[in-house]
């Protein structure tokens, strides 16, 4: 039952998130300047439609959640450690991409994400991460003409 609650919390979060987003769009729309007289339907109209759509569907989903008495058949628990490791993989790539370059950032990201799934073969994963990042870099830059950040390896590659 404990786990059921955690999934429900997420559903509540999504539904209220939609309502908050709707409110944000509504209030931010007030800052949009109206067009000239030729533009019968101004730039605020569609945001209003979208905002009301979000408010309505968010509210409907809240009702759905609160009214459903169905017990979830699958008790699923979130593995928080994996979530945090994976997030760190994403954030580290954002930080490293420009200063350290694509190869370093991709290697770190690959390795950290592999850790989020299983901690069995850290060394194997590190080697594969480096090999993949290096080959992807060269295939896409020399082979396909993309520009990827070189970072700290600028002199070497």
């Amino acid at each position: 039952m404990q786990q059921d609650k955690s999934v429900d919390k997420m559903e509540l979060g999504i539904a209220s998130g939609a309502i908050l987003l709707g409110l944000f769009i509504l209030f931010d729309s007030l800052g949009i300047k109206l067009g000239s007289g030729y533009d019968r339907i101004g730039p605020r109209f569609f945001p209003y439609v979208v905002a009301s759509g979000l408010l309505i569907s968010g509210a409907l989903m809240l009702v759905e959640i609160l009214r459903s008495s169905v017990v979830r058949h699958e008790a699923e628990s979130l593995n928080k450690t994996s979530f945090v490791i994976l997030l760190s993989g994403l954030v580290s790539c954002l930080i490293l991409l420009k200063p350290a370059g694509f190869i370093v950032a991709a290697t770190v990201q690959f390795w950290l994400i592999a850790r989020a799934f299983s901690n069995a073969n850290p060394l194997r994963d590190a080697i594969i991460a480096a090999l993949l990042s290096i080959s992807v870099y060269f295939i896409f830059t020399s082979g396909l003409g993309l520009v990827l950040p070189r970072g700290i390896l600028t002199g070497l590659i």
């Binding site: 949009i32 533009d39 979130l78 490791i85 997030l87 954030v91 790539c93 989020a116 799934f117 069995a120």
Partner: protein
């Protein structure tokens, strides 16, 4: 027939050696990426987008044709051998095909899927060849009112068909519409909802949103679930099927095609409805109804054919009207825009070499896929053995690469990750992500056409009902809006009715 001449012209282009090579590379990469668990056709196309940046447009689209069909083939192999459908169109294949594979008939399931996909893909492409130019001519007389009505019809079906409940589909759609609002308003030239960030002036790129929702969301979802060992069914040798299997398969292939192409080609589009319909029909018509749910070959043959025919059908509104009706089509549209091309009625006259080269290479790609899939299925199946840590590590590296290379911007990558976290929450709560992708692409189009219409009519709303085409389309949309909740209500009443 003019279409035939143009098609021959297309073959002339597509059969040039270098274009054949790109088509081959496209089907190869499309199958390889599409087969990876958790990667559907939409993500396959999005992840492989950067591969084509360096090519000239014609070659790039010939390659895309291969990637598109290849991703579909790859997805069915995964569904059969691993029971992880990469997209809603292959859910049925996963149910029935995986049961077949478990009872030792993996080879027959793969063969009927591959042959059925080939038959349906080829027939669907033939239909596309003749329907598309005709519809493109018709579309020339479409005004903004008709376009707007078409898009609204698309919205209603996309939101109400996908997802556990219509509410969730609607929520996803409006989230996408909200993302689509960000950026410069084309009519008045002012920035909306950019939070003062200059990077958001151009709005969100569909690849940022799709890769975030599909790749990052899925990876987060899988990483946080208990890591059970996935059961992969092993196969060896050529995939083939017996005479009896063939006898049971060919009719479902044709029926699936007949369902898939027209429904996929409607502006409401999608591949879910035809596959579900095909399954229901085959179940009713089969001489072995007791096998359904335990691995009936008809239940793989029909829906697979429907899925591939619908994939060809989806190209009709995309190429002739510029309207994407599936997440995959939304990314294909982005691919066109990357090359400064706008699909629509005019592209048939302005870029015939591109359109006809693309259509011709759909035939070629389909044929190549058959050759690649029947003998080599065991080889492809080995891709399923890639351990999850390496697989998802690789997927995220490619997701990052693809997003970064759109504008060489780290900001885009950050946005993609953020949207991925939203996608993770949606995945956990059974909210479908495809309506969000389609919404963010179609939203701005809908707004523009709506405002254009009212500028023409000087603010008179009755223009939408005065024009017969737009009136009937909007009427259809209203019917869908009423019918879907009503059907759900009736179903609930029946379930709760005293027996």
């Amino acid at each position: 027939m003019e279409s035939l001449q143009l098609l021959l012209y297309g073959f002339e282009i597509a059969l040039q050696p270098h274009n054949l090579l790109w088509a081959f590379l496209g089907v190869l990469l499309g199958t390889a990426v599409g087969i990876l668990p958790g990667i559907g056709p939409a993500l396959t196309v999005a992840l492989l987008l950067p591969v084509t940046y360096g090519l000239e447009p014609v070659s790039a689209f010939i390659m895309f044709a291969g990637i598109y069909y290849g991703g579909m083939y790859g997805g069915s192999t995964t569904s059969i051998l691993l029971n992880t459908p990469g997209e809603s169109g292959s859910i049925i294949t996963a149910i029935e095909g995986n049961k077949m594979a478990r009872s030792g008939r993996a080879s027959a399931a793969l063969a009927t899927a591959a042959l059925g996909s080939f038959v349906a893909g080829t027939l669907g492409t033939i239909a596309l060849t003749f329907v598309a130019p005709a519809l493109a001519d018709l579309a020339l007389v479409f005004g903004p009112a008709e376009y707007f009505a078409l898009i609204v019809l698309g919205f209603t079906t996309i939101a109400s068909v996908l997802g556990k409940t219509p509410t969730r589909g609607m929520l996803s759609l409006f989230f996408g519409l909200g993302l689509g609002l960000v950026g410069i308003d084309l009519q008045t030239g002012q920035a909306r909802f950019t939070l003062g960030l200059p990077q958001l002036l151009d709005g969100f790129h569909v690849v940022v949103v799709a890769v975030g929702l599909f790749a990052v969301g899925e990876t987060l979802f899988l990483a946080t679930r208990p890591q059970g060992l996935r059961e992969i069914i092993r196969i060896s040798g050529w995939t083939w099927m017996s005479r009896e299997d063939l006898a049971r398969s060919w009719k479902p292939w044709l029926r699936g095609t007949l369902l898939g192409f027209p429904i996929g080609g409607l502006p409401t589009g999608g591949t879910e409805i035809p596959t579900f319909l095909s399954y229901a029909i085959e179940r009713r018509l089969s001489r072995h109804p007791e096998e359904f749910g335990h691995g009936a070959i008809e239940g793989v043959a029909g829906p697979e054919a429907a899925n591939n025919a619908a994939a060809a059908g989806v190209l009709v509104p995309l190429l002739t009207l510029g309207l994407p009706t599936s997440a995959t089509a939304a990314i294909l549209l982005a691919a066109f825009q990357q090359f400064n091309l706008q699909p629509g009625p005019l592209i048939f006259t302005s870029n015939p070499e591109l359109i006809w080269g693309l259509i011709a290479s759909l035939y070629i790609g389909n044929f190549m896929l058959l050759l690649l899939n029947l003998p080599l299925a065991p080889l492809w199946a080995r891709l399923l053995m890639i351990p999850a840590p390496l697989l998802y590590g690789g997927i995220l590296v490619f997701a990052t690469l693809g997003t970064y290379s759109l504008n060489n911007s780290v900001f885009d990558v950050g946005m993609m990750y953020l949207i991925g976290i939203v996608g993770f929450c949606m995945r956990c709560t059974d909210i479908p992500v495809a309506p969000a992708v389609i919404g963010m692409i179609l939203g701005p189009m809908a707004e523009q056409q709506f405002r254009r219409t009212l500028a023409i009519s000087q603010g008179d709303m009755s223009i939408f009902v005065d024009r017969p085409v737009s009136a009937s389309l909007l009427g259809l949309a209203a019917c869908v809006l009423i019918a879907v909740p009503l059907a759900g209500f009736i179903k609930r009443c029946r379930l709760t009715a005293p027996r």
